[in-house]
Homo-oligomer: 313 residues x 2
């Protein structure tokens, strides 16, 4: 199986963690080294890695910090401090689910390395399975519209379709302001040899109206108990438009959080400069305000099918 | 009355036409000189000026070319050539309506300068009236969402509201890929002293869902007989989302064309580089395709009220 570099963008290499710097893609494939949890938190805040990259970074960071602690020392207080710092990085993403998991493993007394590496191995297997499940929903000749980036899963879905002899095409929204669609998804799909066309975020209704799209597939950063999801800003309006045009809207989901519904999710507001500047060029004049909610919530009733990860089942 | 530079961005100055170069805004307020219809057509194609700027440019171009023709010479063949070149510049915009008007005036035998300048004076008066009409729909405390740029009318509407002692705010979509919202509308509203916040085009549903917007007002490049409009790409999905959230959707219209409905409008597809590159930085990797329809059609039933220009009535 061929994987996108975005499928597993983080590795623990002895005394440092190697992070694929997604802010430099597609012009440069480069890696950042971090040597402690503070470096990891900074990489999360600066969005050097996102989505699954952030999940992997959380687990590898615990592993890195645990390895530094001398034998016979109590590792719990140190790892609690790490958990606290990680949980404070971004409000919308439910890192707490993961940090609680790790702290729970510590309590069992089992070697932490074994627990973490075992979990990540299972995660990898289930993500591959999830891509295969998604591929079964796709028909020969379909054109898939996607938004933002699903950490290497879209090329994997396409790879499964190729094995199933289904010819498919992709339309990718550029996903302003961070351009994950144009920079990451289009890059990894093109790298995998698939047909991909970028559109601006404001072209979705027009393109759906032209009959160019047969299915929408997006990821999710957060799944609540009732099936609502939070995902990259822009997902909600694509779901509303897909509903209007009666086009199936599928979501590749993470494990559900403990939240009852999307109403409980606090939406992270990011600095306005990230919207108002591009490559150090100011887009709007000084004095004009910007509003940049990083995520939005798509209610469960707009989702044709949740494609679950299956972790915890 | 205070006017935005975008309200009347073209002037005929003796032997040349002065064009406010909108591609340089907001960082630089600069003017281009053109000395013949070929220069005008190039400026239209390169979108140095848009919307009303293009309308003014069409009329001033005829005036410029007519002035070059020696007395006693038949000006019709020359102006027919000019009309043909102008009509070929952009498929969605109905320049033909205007070029036919000018050729019609020539046929009357009345001095062309008088006809053109008289028409432009009337146009100016009616645009001011149109802004005043729009301002009457706005209530104290309203927040107006707008898309792209309506050539100086939005600050004029705001100015009328200010005189009527209504406090209002604006939310402007940045309007990818050309960023007319961030670069032009936010600039002219800020210049006029109004409260303006820029959002990305993919944030509309989220912002409407938050209850932040009380009315949507957009312009139109084309109005057909049945009330359908063509406007900057992205207008259609904003109309669909406004409908979903039961928010009034108002359109500042040009005079109607002879087309029966929006189905008759051919949508201009612009070069993919305009979408895939920004400030010479490539956003998506080489080999990835881009699709850039410049306009979309919003059907009449999504429009709460058409605010007509009244020309021809």
């Amino acid at each position: 199986m061929k994987f996108s570099p975005l499928f597993w963008p983080i590795e623990l290499k002895g005394k440092f963690i190697s992070i694929l710097d997604e802010t430099k893609l597609p012009s440069k494939v480069s890696y950042i080294k971090v040597r402690d949890y503070k470096g990891s938190c900074r990489a999360i805040k600066e969005m050097k890695t996102r989505a699954v990259g952030q999940v992997l970074l959380v687990f590898y960071t615990f592993l890195l910090e645990a390895k530094k602690i001398k034998r016979n020392k109590n590792i719990l207080p140190v790892l609690q401090k790490v958990a606290k710092a990680i949980n404070a990085t971004r409000p919308t993403l439910s890192f707490k689910f993961m940090t609680d998991m790790v702290l729970g493993w510590v309590a069992t007394g089992k070697p932490l390395e074994q627990s973490i590496l075992g979990f990540l191995e299972m995660l990898k297997g289930r993500r591959i399975k999830q891509a295969e499940e998604a591929s079964k929903l796709i028909l020969d000749g379909d054109t898939i519209l996607t938004h933002c980036n699903i950490s290497g899963l879209m090329p994997l879905i396409a790879e499964f379709c190729r094995r199933q002899k289904k010819k498919i095409k992709f339309i990718v929204t550029e996903t302003r302001p961070y351009l994950q669609g144009a920079r990451l998804t289009a890059w990894e799909l093109k790298k995998g040899g698939f047909d991909v066309t970028v559109i601006a975020d404001n072209m979705v209704a027009h393109v759906l109206g032209e009959g160019k799209v047969s299915k929408v597939i997006v990821g999710a950063d957060h799944l609540t108990k009732n099936g609502d999801i939070a995902n990259k800003i822009g997902t909600y309006q694509i779901a509303l438009l897909a509903k209007h045009f009666a086009i199936p809207f599928y979501v590749i989901c993470p494990p559900p959080s403990s939240f009852a519904s999307g109403k409980d999710i606090k939406i992270e507001i990011r600095p306005e400069e990230e919207l108002l500047e591009f490559c150090k060029v100011r887009l709007a004049p000084k004095g004009v305000k910007g509003y940049y909610p990083a995520f939005d919530v798509t209610p469960s009733e707009l989702i044709t099918k949740h494609i679950h990860l299956g972790v915890g089942k």
